[in-house]
Amino acid sequence: MALPQLFEFHVRPRILYGPRSVREIGFEANKLGGTRAFIVTDKMLRQVGLAQRVADGLAGSGVTLVGIFDDVPPNSEVKVVEAGAAYAREAGCDLLIALGGGSVMDTAKGMNVLLSEGGSLLDYEGAGLLTRPLKPFIAIPTTAGTGSEVTIAAVIRDEAQGLKLEFNSPFMMPDVAILDPELTLSLPPGLTAATGMDALTHAIETLVSTGTQPLSDALAIGAIKLIAANLRQAVQHGDDLEARGAMLLASNMAGIAFSNAMLGIVHAMAHPCGGRYGVPHGVANSILLPYGMAYNLPTCAPRLAEVAAALGVETRGLDDETAALAGIAAVRQLAADCGLPARLSEVGVPHEGLAQLAADSQGDAMMMTNPNPAGEEDVLALYERAF
């Protein structure tokens, strides 16, 4: 394969992996120069004691915990970010710790912008508007799917406008990501399955993206292998620390990969399903992934054959197209084995809403890097098939 003429690969943040690695938080916070740490999380994670484990890790490090903001909802909002930033500012925080899934991470990213630069969050809607590093920021994911701990973006809903706003800047990335699989043990099977399929979608879409390059390819292939070997086990035996660790790493690897190579039609179609009908992101991706792969097959069969091999499909002796089709079948089987729905009609999307979803998908940045260009009619046909 020809190498791209020019590509860039971000490798921030520093990553620390290991069971009980959350105990290192004090050392890491100290190293970043923090003295007054502030935790951003949600009520559930606080109730099950995970925030306390972070607090325990800070003890004796010389870094004081000055506050915990646990009002983050499943889909964060501008007013939540602004309330959290006000609280953290009042507490005199000089280092942020995000403990949670994608919504918590995105909230903390937005809070860090306001704490460091001031103003209103809406002032920063867009891309490339930040010009200097923000306050030190440590991310501790408690789900294995979004990869938010290694991405430059935050998506936050503005209730006033009824819109999801995008904020993009390399300066929003955390400085350190701590991957402690023990913190994911309490994740229920349904959420484990959906977030795992989200990570798989990141990896597969990275490989076929027009922005792909060798560094992201390697991470994406590695992530697919880990997911194929561990997602079923993590869903069916949630106490398996090895499987949980493998999924946490796979999510992280896929996150780095897609953050550098971008995504494609599956995400462009999944985002409106979440925005209009509240379909959980991982579930929407899981349903739409086989259809997106099939749509892209004519333009990238060799790549999808690589995906099939990474999924564990025996591809020796098969031509690329046959191998790719076997890979699509393997993705469907994995989702089914994990108990995920296979149709949009099962998750509250009404048939009469499909045309609007197709129109919405055309404004999604991820469509830009899909290998097979897709207009509104193409996307509508795919939604129909997935319905």
């Binding site: 860039e8 809607e125 867009g126 891309a127 490339g128 508007l129 430059i152 819109l163 706003l165 995008e166 993009n168 390399p170 922005g211 971008m262 055309q362 404004g363 999604d364 940045a365 469509m367 830009m368 890097t369 207009g375």
Partner: protein
Amino acid sequence: MPVFKDAEQLYDCIGGVLDYLRTDETVSVAFRKSGLVIRFKYSDPDSEITLDGSQDPITLTCGPCDRAPTVDMTMSADTAHQFWLGKVNLVAALTRGAMKAKGPIPAIMKLLPVITPAYKKYPDILREKGLDNLINV
């Protein structure tokens, strides 16, 4: 050395392609539907162009404009030139900081498929103005 010798030349060339888009039937319908007011702010040479899709007909202003923009796109004039030659990936440019966008990114992305035909028109505009030498810069 910058591609454009001064703001007037930029208004002639980049303004020319934006004016083509403003009057193209497909693009103007999509742009009017978006209701966006996009201000392009360029450096080297310092200049700005505002495309106002909030009114019918769409207006194009080269130079300072009183309309408050919904989207501010900031970039060097050289980047703009490369973009209209079809040599810049918008997503990569935004990620790498070669372009900055303040405002609703999805609304801008939605317009991209309709403006890409202008990639073919831009070299023609340069040729018409006797600026063939800029096509391969």
